[in-house]
Amino acid sequence: MRYLSLIASRLLKAVLVLLAILILNFFLIHLAPGDPAMVMAGEAGATDAQFIADLRERFGLDQSLPMQLWHYLAGVLTLDFGYSYRQQMPVLDLILERLPATLLLTGAAFVISLGCGIVAGMLAAMRAKRPSGSLIMGLALLFYATPLYWVAMMAVLVFSVFLGWLPAYGYDTVGSDATGLAHALDVAEHLILPATTLGLFFMAVYTRMTRASMLSVAQQDFVKTARAKGLAPGMIQRRHILRNALLPIITLAGLQAGQMVGGAVLTETVFAWPGIGRLMYEALMQRDYNLLLGIFFFCALLVILFNMLTDVIYRLADPRIKEAA
């Protein structure tokens, strides 16, 4: 019962936060110089004042700012995020069309970084005093320090251009009409490079954190208790050390998961991945307000969602949290 009431209160707060974000974004975007009518008129080569005024009237840009905000909020409440006049499509359709590609990319990167990071960190902790442990930490430091776009370009250069193992860009092979499993494999092949590149930084962070956390947990009294019981070392590592060491990782994983929609702009641009990141970049360049606001909204929604999920997972993982709440 307490659990349900807690979730209810968190949901209510989340809705309020989301509303505040909507309003803030709306005003922020209107602070930028220029509006869609100007950009469209500029592209059409027309400087005719009447033409611009017509455009503004058609898009509702001639109304006062509070009025525009009101229309926008009322729309969002009915899941109507407006119409992108640049793309000639409703914003929601545009976003939903691109969302799967982005979620596939960032989700894969998330799983790769979390899985490999924790395993590498565990190995590094268990071999803390051996060269193999130092090697893992050296690599982690390298990936931690290298800028993402550079890694991305180098990966394309090495694995696509020189070795020719993997496709350099895109979501699937252009012109291929493969379906079913063949298509899935094609997409997976295209996914490997961008997902690994995107996940490298967090993988390095998880590796370092898991190692440090495990080494410090290994010093604690209950580990000695476990040894005094006669437990085998592997069991002590898994059941007693790792479980306790993973608590701080959850916090970080929650942060990373929150960036799933908005965090892949660079990677999507380098690898020409047809996701939300690229859509956002284009919308920004074209002053496509409605589309931009829609994307912002989805980014914020995901951050809030994953924050709540992190809290729930934290409660499941650490029984002491309930008491503190």
């Binding site: 009431s5 208790t225 008491e323």
Partner: protein, 548 residues
């Protein structure tokens, strides 16, 4: 007398290079027969735990066995390979540790942690393990065993957790139980219960117990034989009653003499009747912040607490953890704000003052904290740590630092200590620095919150002596907060006994020790280990016939 169960022969353990001595233990030999309780006694750093760790195969990294054998039932524990040793751990040798708060995995249910002992040795089915765990929790007399089985460690108190530890150590009915200071971190009444439980289980199962402690009071309660260690060597060994009654070695005599007697000194005259501190109707409730749909949790830390403290008087506040005694101290120093009530220092109500006027008065009350390791900033030199108070109060820097050097000599340290960092000092020395820091503002009242609880008994005696001397020399008043009645008896003129935020009894220390009127006070006094009252006198001979 049968063959000894455990026989340690000429054991020597080398410390890593650069330690303050070469060997953790040197040439140590002792034996332990089945059904016998051997107390290994010594102060911190005496190597008393290291032998036990070597027996368990749990030596910290860096320590090496350089010589000796440890025969357990005929097999040398030190020479056997790790899997063989591991098979003995938990199954034939059980161990209980000092810190019940940290010795259990915080993320695992108590029942699972007990069941794990059987699992480690591949015994029983999951269902049987659970039933055994329940039976064990009943045996160690945990209230409501079925729900304790499902509880997480943080839901249990320190004493309850120690019972769980004991249940775990006894799960496979080991022949030898190693108990490393199992009661040191517990309240005095809980300590008495746990000692009783260990003694009881030991008799019922005929186990051998190696009981490591620093407290001769505990020795008197539980030991058949005693082995006294000093700096890695055994200085005295023998029958517990004989050693307690007529210790042969000088070190043993110091240790026994250092135990506060548990008999209050007669009331001293000369205390000024004019009260320095008056506390009236103090209330403090800790509230956990509730959510929108959650009830708030309230803990009453102080409930209408009132007392007076005369000039030059030492007032002891005694109680167990959770009694509110520390909250009281913190309210008086101004670290906590009480909900209501008055605190008057020499007639001025501190609760009505603010700003400059409050700062002016606060100077007169200073505090000495419990943990000498945590209460000094590791990156600030000792001299500066002492001088910071006066500097904040407007004393020129050079003069404050000069005064810090003087104060260091006053508390029995070298003036040159001012230029060193806290980590270069021992616990006792740090506590002296803490006292010097409290004195730097020329206070009238010093609040000492468990100021000697973290120290070894011999160091404890020295620090108490220092406080006593300073009190007379500088005409200070002392508010001495402690859970240890023996310490309170030694230093306090008057005592206040607190339970659950209330004062249940107050009066002269002598009167309270001789004729306690409240049942809780009587319970506390009865729980003091090794107090020579009728109960222990009757218990000691009962243990005697099983001596070798």
């Amino acid at each position: 007398m049968s063959e000894p169960l455990l026989q340690i022969e000429r054991l020597t353990l080398a410390l890593p290079e650069g330690a303050d001595r070469r060997y953790a233990v040197e040439d140590v030999s002792y034996s332990l027969a089945a059904g016998e309780v051997l107390c290994v006694v010594g102060e911190s750093g005496s190597g008393k735990s290291m032998t036990a760790n070597a027996v368990m195969g749990l030596l910290p990294p860096g320590l090496r066995v350089t010589q000796g054998r440890a025969l357990f039932d005929g097999a040398d524990l030190l020479a056997m390979d790790e899997p063989t040793h591991r098979a003995l751990r938990g199954r034939r040798i059980g161990m209980v540790f000092q810190e019940p708060m940290t010795a259990l995995n915080p993320l695992m249910r108590v029942g699972d942690q007990i069941a794990e002992v059987f699992e480690a040795h591949g015994l029983l089915t999951a269902r049987e393990r659970r039933e055994k765990a329940l039976a064990l929790l009943e045996e160690v007399r945990l209230p409501d065993p079925p729900s304790a089985l499902r509880a997480y460690p943080f839901e249990l108190s320190g004493g309850q957790r120690q019972r769980v530890m004991i249940a775990m150590a006894l799960a496979l009915e080991p022949q030898l139980l190693v108990a490393d200071e199992p009661t040191t971190a517990l309240d005095v009444t809980t300590q008495a219960q746990i000692l009783h439980l260990i003694r009881d289980l030991q008799k019922r199962r005929g186990m051998a117990v190696m009981f490591i402690t620093h407290d001769f009071g505990v020795v008197a309660e539980i030991a058949d034989r005693v082995c006294v260690m000093c700096e890695g060597r055994i200085v005295e060994m023998g029958d517990a009653r004989e050693v307690l009654a007529s210790p042969r070695h000088a070190y043993t005599r110091t240790l026994i003499a250092a135990i506060p007697g548990g008999v209050a000194a007669p009331a001293r005259d000369g205390a000024d009747p004019a009260p320095l501190l008056t506390v009236e109707g103090l209330n403090k409730v800790y509230r956990s912040r509730g959510g929108w749909w959650q009830p708030r949790r309230e803990v009453v830390a102080l409930d209408e607490v009132g007392f007076t403290l005369g000039r030059g008087e030492t007032l002891g506040i005694v109680g167990e953890s959770g009694s509110g005694k520390s909250t009281l101290g913190r309210c008086i120093v101004g670290l906590e704000t009480p909900d209501s009530g008055g605190i008057r220092l020499a007639g001025t109500d501190l609760r009505t003052l603010t700003g400059q006027a409050l700062r002016e008065q606060r100077r007169h009350i200073q505090m000495v904290f419990q943990d000498p390791y945590a209460s000094l900033n590791p990156r600030i030199r000792v001299g500066m740590a002492i001088a910071q108070g006066p500097i904040a109060n407007g004393v020129p820097r050079a003069r404050a630092l000069e005064r810090a050097r003087q104060l260091l000599t006053t508390v029995g340290l070298d003036a040159a200590a001012a230029d060193r960092f806290p980590h270069e000092f021992s616990g006792g020395q740090r506590q002296r620095i803490g006292i010097a820091r409290a004195l730097a503002l020329d206070p009238e009242l010093i609040v000492a919150d468990e100021a000697v609880s973290a120290l070894d008994v011999s160091i404890q005696a020295q620090v108490l002596e220092l406080l006593e001397r300073l009190k007379t020399e500088l005409s200070l008043s002392l508010l001495f907060i402690t859970h240890d009645l023996r310490v309170a008896a030694q230093i306090c003129d008057r005592l206040i006994v607190m339970q659950k935020g209330c004062i249940v009894e107050q009066g002269s220390a002598e009167r309270i020790f001789q004729a306690p009127s409240h049942p809780y006070t009587r319970e506390l006094l009865a729980a003091i280990p090794g107090r020579h009252d009728d109960a222990t006198a009757a218990a000691a001979p009962a243990a005697a016939p099983r001596m070798p």
